[in-house]
Symmetry: C2
Subunit: 173 residues, 2 copies
């Protein structure tokens, strides 16, 4: 896929086939994470790669909209220290999702409202917050248009994207 | 450029030529921002596009490592509400930098330690934090290897990137 189209076409994929994510794709996802830039090159992230079904099922219970993890062949938990590293966590998550999508692998972010449970389950030490996990897998054809069984319009703040003139200011707000 | 290579080769570019960023590239950068995913599709971001030299010079004074803005032909200030939107700010920033790099346009992030000054200068209203700006421009050939006049090793927490086995855990930390 052309690089710019990759950026425009990435969407959340919440339903996956049973097909495993190939080892080569996982390797590319992790290399894309590794090479992501961060504030002063602190590389403030740690990753737990999860493919055991029981662990994915437990993780799916730690966020209000995390159920997609239960059906994903692969999850990656992103842990960063508290504070500004949350910005870098967003950068590295985006890079991993894009690397996956370049291989046709879909993904969805789960935010853990109960990140302490995720830390306990995975043995993540003090000093890190396990705030985010990403599901990865091949998109299920004819997947339901719903989120957690509800119509998308009830869950999302908006559908589609705002027009640029609602987002962009020129020289001054 | 092949999409995966785009992800691996993005680096901070702090020194730019005088050549303006073409309007077509700016349009692609802004579309990449617009189409970025966010928590519940809240699209929590607003952008101020700055090309006036005096404004860029002033912004360059609002962060300890923001001087690259003073010499950039283009800056984009990213404003998001306080809290978890900082994660989405990281995602949208990464997407803009990648869209630029796909056109050969380099970029560098500035964090404003004094974001209230940036808000005041640009007229950004209450409810948003103007925590981040991105410089964009064509990389200057033979640019100095220094950051703010200091050797990179004195400013950065590390050089290069950590090995994967320092970042990745399998099933459990």
């Amino acid at each position: 896929m052309e690089a710019y189209q990759l950026l425009l076409t990435l969407r959340a994929v919440r339903h996956f086939t049973d097909q495993p994510v190939p080892e080569e794709s996982l390797a590319r996802i992790l290399q894309a994470a590794r090479w992501t830039g961060s504030a002063k090159n602190t590389q403030p992230w740690q990753f737990v790669v999860v493919r055991q079904r029981e662990t994915l099922r437990l993780l799916a219970g730690f966020g209000s909209y995390a159920s997609h993890l239960a059906g994903a062949p692969l999850g990656i938990v992103v842990a960063t220290p508290p504070g500004y590293a949350l910005f870098d966590a967003g950068r590295v998550t985006q890079n991993m999702m894009l690397a996956a999508w370049a291989d046709g692998v879909g993904s969805c972010i789960a935010s853990f409202h109960d990140e302490a449970l995720a830390r306990a389950l995975l043995g993540i030490p003090e000093g890190f917050l396990a705030h985010t996990a990403i599901s990865f897998g091949y998109p299920q054809p004819d997947a339901p248009e719903t989120i957690e069984g509800k119509p998308r319009v009830e869950v999302l703040a908006s559908l589609g994207r705002r027009a640029l003139d609602e987002l962009v200011h020129w020289e001054h707000w």
